[in-house]
Amino acid sequence: MDPATPLSLRRARSVRPSRQARREAFWFHVLISPWIIGFLIFMLYPIVGSAYFSFTRYDVIHPPHWVGLANYAYLFTRDQLFWKSLRVTFTYVAVAVPLHLAVALALALLLNVRIIGMRALRTIYYLPTIMPQVATAMLWLFLFAPTYGVIDWALSAAFGIHGPDWLGSAHWVLPAFILMSLWGVGGPMVLFLAALQGVPNELYEAAQLDGASAWRQFRHVTVPMISPLILFNLIVGLIAASQIFATAFVMTQGGPDYASYFYNLALYNNAFVYFKMGLASAQAWILLAIVMMLTLLIFKFSARWVFYGSER
């Protein structure tokens, strides 16, 4: 607002928005109303509903029966499979998420040089992320197959190692899932690549004039400049990895010996196989609490290493 506007008029405006502003606000709400309605029906009601169900015994056929904290108490104190699924899922998250970030960033750094065919390379690395998860699952089930599987053949041909029985071994099934997930590293890589291309060249030139080594340029120019995207990929990766379902459902059903019994498999079985909707709702809320806590922790510590530029 123009500073020359008389104070009385300014106050009048801030108290009573103009007719034009009110008309605009009216239309804003009309235009976003599909989302508001959808949010109320398909999100807010389910959030409140699953919170309520988590305190009940509920099999869909009979009305929910209030049991207080019994579901939570059962999960934490008596349900061995709940703890197992928690351990399996967060072991996977703890290894796969940092590994994805490191590999995606390394590939993006390498792809960020001008050589012929870079565009084609970028497309190829992105390709696996387009595959339907069910097709990916079938393909890797085949690649990991014992005796005639091509991965074990490659291991024996290249290193003379007798490959493990990947999906049939309680020790190797999680490494197998992590290996398979690396195939989809092109997703975060494309984002890193775009961020790298946005780093102004002058920063590197200045660093070179100061005699900074390649490592110091990476550490003190590249990493700070793309740190918002590292944070973004970290959080998106955490949320996605903690919800792994389709591949595990198709490939192992959680086996062998529950070694790949991911959190959402346990939840799905309770809800849609045993129709323990109350128990499954409690599981859903525990997952939400864990993911939210981790996200908040990451945000809290991100203040130390994420650099948002001077203009923001």
Partner: protein
């Protein structure tokens, strides 16, 4: 000095990236190669790196063992209708967030973005109860109707970013002519947004085409299966694992999103980049 360094970097890039490309491409190759082999060739050790002789029989066999033509139509119906709804509604909502002002705008925008972080599991059970009460279980409605209410937070964000980048002057002339907001969206903004519509449509189509969890929960009669359900069900229906047929049908399912990606990849990659800002 600088020139030598740059050359070193290129050599390093090629030395890592080219073997990497082989690792990425090999599973695709193996999928194609196995689909044109006889089952006896597949279980042989060491495996045949180049299949010989070629046997295309697994395509007709696999695709007719279960009614995959039917599943193809089912999946297409769901994906096309839900994409239509998602793109239409997300573009209107995104337009409002980009070009209109209201005191509540920031609140709603933060709300939209925060829904991205919600684990699917929290919504799953009450949604199922809701759709069951409505009598929508074993119909495609739970897979289509929600898309008409804003698509997803990601699509809204994509459209909002795109519409924000259009210069204000484009709208000024129309506004002086007394053009209302709905017409501002329909006649001015929408025709300019072909790249955003393309990216959003492809993203949502792929999501819907590839979706497994929602069809698994809502569809239970065989004739209504989607491709994802059909393939997941193939082994137990067959009572064994005919890898050549499984690779053939998986490849046929994957071919649709891959083909679309190749035609739309420039729009897509810029769409992904926009969404991360």
């Amino acid at each position: 000095m600088a020139g030598r360094k740059r050359r070193m970097r290129r050599i390093l890039a090629a030395a890592v990236l080219l073997p990497g490309v082989l690792l990425i491409l090999f599973p695709f190759y193996w999928m194609v190669a196995s689909s044109v082999e006889h089952l006896a060739q597949i279980v042989r050790f060491p495996p045949e790196l180049v299949p010989h002789p070629l046997d295309f029989a697994s395509y007709p066999k696999g695709l007719t063992f279960l009614p995959f033509a039917r599943y193809f139509l089912n999946t297409s119906e769901i994906a096309v209708l839900s994409t239509l709804g998602a793109v239409l509604s997300a573009s209107v909502v995104g337009f409002a967030f980009a070009r209109l002002h209201a005191p509540t705008k920031k609140f709603f925008f933060v709300l939209v973005l925060s829904t991205m972080m919600l684990p699917m599991a929290v919504l799953l059970i009450p949604q199922f109860v809701l759709f069951k009460t409505l009598g929508w279980v074993n119909t495609y409605l739970p897979l289509i109707v929600p898309a008409f209410f804003g698509g997803s937070a990601f699509l809204i964000f994509l459209f909002r970013q795109f519409f924000s980048s259009i210069p204000e002057e484009v709208f000024d002339a129309a506004r002086i002519d007394g053009c209302g907001y709905p017409r501002l969206y329909w006649s001015i903004a929408r025709p300019l947004a072909v790249p955003a519509f393309t990216a959003a449509a492809v993203f949502h189509f792929q999501f819907s085409w590839n979706d497994f969890l929602a069809p698994l929960i809502y569809i239970n009669s065989n004739s209504k299966y989607t491709l994802a359900l059909g393939i997941a069900n193939f082994r137990s229906a067959y009572g064994a694992t005919p890898w050549n047929q499984l690779m053939a049908v998986s490849l046929m399912m994957a071919l649709v999103p891959i083909t679309i990606f190749f035609f739309a990849q420039n729009y897509l990659l810029s769409g992904i980049v926009v969404s991360s800002r």
